[in-house]
């Protein structure tokens, strides 16, 4: 493979070239094989420091990055800003100054406000990895989703994925649908009209019922997490109605089984809302694989990015 132009930050999917995407996947595969060994560590990032900066609670993504970084022998510092002492936007520049002084090589950042990782990236020499910013982007989630899909479908081009749920407030939906689209995977979307903005993405086929979705014949069903605390009553009448209209239950699982479709979910799952306990046991669920691939993809991203910490 030809040498790629070095890149400092991973902020979104939009700016990635196909070449860069393939490079990440090529590296993620051997990292994943490493997990089968008794010693799961490589010395790639020995002496480097990774700062996990989470302004929103997240156990899964934060630990995934932590595991990825420690398997590459980096020193990891976890810094979770609790919601009670959330650093407001206006002191962002002060925070960045502090970060710059810490001289971390990699900063993994999650923030409730869209665009913050970009601001941090602009003002630091460290490599910044966006681990989710507002409704904007979650690029490593998109990468792990695509890796997972390509593992089960090596002939992924022209295959179909239906994304179900709250598109409006979902950075996962934005990033994952965009990456699927870049890779030539067809994307459909199903969800209540109040949560699926009309006409935003020309490449997403809009569905209004599971019936139509199953007629379309998706190769995977990607369920989004329903943000219970925020949305009940404002965007749909009740959890029960959401579940009835858009949730995954045994009848719909049966249809998926007929189609041979896989089930995906970014986690954490709301059992009884977007999916029933029973459906969670579906034999073609990729949810655990997604978690495992998340670590591999994040290792590949850490391996790929080039901090400029040798500069002042």
């Amino acid at each position: 493979m030809s040498e790629l132009k070095p890149r400092k930050d991973l902020l979104d999917i939009e700016s990635l070239s196909l070449e860069e995407i393939e490079y990440i996947f090529e590296n993620a595969a051997p990292f994943k094989q490493l997990f089968q060994r008794s010693v799961k560590k490589v010395p790639t990032l020995r002496g480097k420091t990774v700062l996990n900066l989470f302004y929103e609670p997240s156990t899964r993504t934060s630990s995934s990055f932590e595991v990825a970084a420690s398997r590459m022998s980096a020193d990891v510092t976890n810094f979770t800003v609790s919601s009670s002492s959330v650093v407001k936007g206006e002191s962002l520049l002060d925070t960045i100054e502090t970060l710059q002084a810490m001289r971390s090589d990699y900063i993994v950042i999650r923030h409730q406000a869209a665009g913050v990782p970009g601001i941090v990236a602009k003002h630091t020499n460290a490599s910044v990895i966006n681990a989710g910013d507002g409704y904007h982007a979650h690029p490593t989630q998109a990468l792990l989703d695509s890796m997972t899909f390509r593992e089960v479908y090596p002939d992924y081009q022209g295959r179909k994925v239906i994304i179900v749920g709250d598109i409006l407030h979902s950075r996962v939906a934005r990033s994952t649908s965009m990456l699927f689209n870049k890779l030539g995977i067809e994307v459909g979307v199903l969800g209540p009209g109040s949560l699926v903005p009309e006409g935003r993405h020309d490449f997403m086929k809009r569905f209004h019922s599971w019936e139509d979705v199953f007629d379309w014949g998706p190769d995977a069903v990607y369920l989004l997490r329903v943000q219970l605390e925020r949305q009940e009553g404002q965007f749909f009448p009740s959890i029960a109605e959401y579940h009835k209209m858009y949730g995954m239950h045994s009848e719909r699982v049966a249809r998926m089984r007929q189609l041979g479709a896989y089930l995906m979910h970014p986690g954490p799952v709301n059992r009884g809302v977007e999916i029933t306990d029973e459906a969670m046991g579906y034999e073609k669920s990729l949810i655990s694989t997604q978690v495992e691939n998340g670590i591999a993809v994040r290792m590949a991203v850490l391996h790929w990015l080039k901090p400029e910490t040798d500069k002042d």
Binding site: E14, K88, G89, E90, L93, G115, G134, H136, R174
Partner: protein, 417 residues
């Protein structure tokens, strides 16, 4: 005496510029205008060859931030910025701390203005006490101190009944009621126009109907009460349609547009640049085009900058957290020349009409005229010059502008006041 030689004079009446020399006496009064005036003893000659002499502009929508937010702007820095931008009169929005909601506060603000400002700054007063949208502010006290309009600035009066009472009450004092056109229940925490860009950036959006519904409501209430209504910062094609229809129906309604809503779209904020974050938000190209047409066909009465300074630090926050507003007094004439006049979209007469004469008429002031016996109140504009809009160039305390770093065609050589 100062003799301004070889310039051409712009006016609202005609696109043709009148070649003339202007002699201004030591009291600042235009003594003589003639095709050629010879220098007299003791007079200084200002060479205006190739330059346009333009009546001083008047900005209906200025947030000078004093009292209360002097770290953003002061009356003094605001006044200097205005002069630097060719603006020789303006209306102060009442959203200071405390808000200007009583005759006493109007008086103390006017006293402050007379101490620090070199140009007339007219005061507006709140519609409701503390701009809270609950009770009528003291209209009679403010009227007796000479407020030019009543407005809660960017706060909408939430209750239509209260707005109705405001308008009914304002009529007795022949006071202009000014509103901003925003439906808070729709705007919520929105930061940018709701559309492709808000979706792509993952930012909460402000739908066009947020302005359109509020504006429709305000027009209806004005029609019902017969009050005079001025609508600030029209931003969508549909808003303009409503206004045009209201005018057609004989409603006493006027409106203004900002230079930004004529020149820029939501796409310009594509990289989270907070210098493009304003209220109302930048909309679509089709809206810009409709607004330009409205300016040309008369549906839009005035241009107003909505000069809303914030510190660079405040604007350095992430897009959603950063405050709405940018500074505008110094770049409005330049930007409109750069993008419209120099391109032939419209002539100087339209700029003079929409940014000098009409705004003054809206608040019952006489337009500035460049004529013998009148006070000299004009700026000298060099259409062949250019201006780098840099932090050094700007006199406002808030060097927050979408044009920062750009070189615009034309240069304001001097503002004579």
């Amino acid at each position: 005496m100062r003799l301004f030689k070889n310039g051409t004079i712009a006016s609202e009446e005609t696109p043709e510029l009148q070649k003339a020399d202007i002699l201004v006496d030591d009291e600042g009064v235009i003594h003589q205008i003639a095709e050629t005036i010879e220098a007299v003893d003791g007079s200084t000659t200002v060479d205006c060859d190739g330059c346009v002499i333009v009546p001083g502009m008047f900005d209906l929508n200025v947030h000078a931030r004093e009292p209360g937010f002097e770290h953003k702007e002061t009356l003094s820095s605001c006044g200097e910025a205005a002069i630097h931008g060719g603006v020789t009169g303006l209306v102060l929005m009442p959203d200071t701390a405390p808000p200007v909601d009583s005759g006493n506060l109007v008086k103390s603000l006017q006293d402050l203005v007379s101490e620090v400002s070199r140009i007339p700054m007219h005061t507006s007063g709140c519609l409701t006490k503390k701009r809270e949208g609950k009770e009528l502010a003291g209209f009679s006290g403010m009227a007796s101190r000479g407020v030019t309009m009543l407005t809660d600035a960017d706060h909408e009066v939430p209750c239509p009944d209260l707005l109705r009472r405001c308008m009914e009450y304002a009529k007795d004092f022949d006071l202009l009621v000014t509103t901003h056109g925003d439906t808070p229940a729709l705007t919520k925490a929105g930061a940018i126009n709701e559309g492709h860009v808000s979706y792509k950036l993952g930012l909460p959006g402000i739908p066009a109907i947020s302005q359109e519904i509020a504006l429709d409501r305000d027009i209806r209430v004005a029609q019902h009460t017969g009050a005079r209504l001025h609508l600030q910062q029209v931003s969508t094609a549909n808003s303009l349609k409503s206004i045009a229809a209201a005018k057609e129906a004989g409603t006493q309604v006027t409106c203004e547009v900002s230079p930004y809503h004529l020149l820029l779209t939501e796409e310009d904020a594509d990289d989270y640049n907070t210098h493009f974050k304003m209220d109302p938000p930048l909309r679509l190209q089709s809206d810009c085009e409709a607004l330009i047409r409205g300016l040309l066909d008369g549906a839009i009465d005035a241009i107003a900058s909505n000069h809303a300074p914030h510190t660079e630090f405040e604007k350095s926050a992430d897009f959603a957290s950063a405050p709405f507003g940018i500074s505008g007094l110094e770049t409005t004439v330049l930007a409109l020349f750069d993008r419209f006049i120099s391109e032939g979209t419209f002539g100087w007469n339209l700029l003079v009409k929409k940014y000098s004469a009409e705004p003054r008429r809206i608040v019952n002031l006489d337009p500035v005229k460049i004529a013998e016996g009148e006070k000299a109140e004009f700026f000298i504009f060099d259409p062949n010059g250019e201006t780098l809009v840099s932090k050094d160039y700007l006199k406002t305390k808030s060097p927050v502008s979408p044009f920062l770093g750009q070189t615009l065609k034309g240069a304001i050589r001097e503002t004579v006041i």
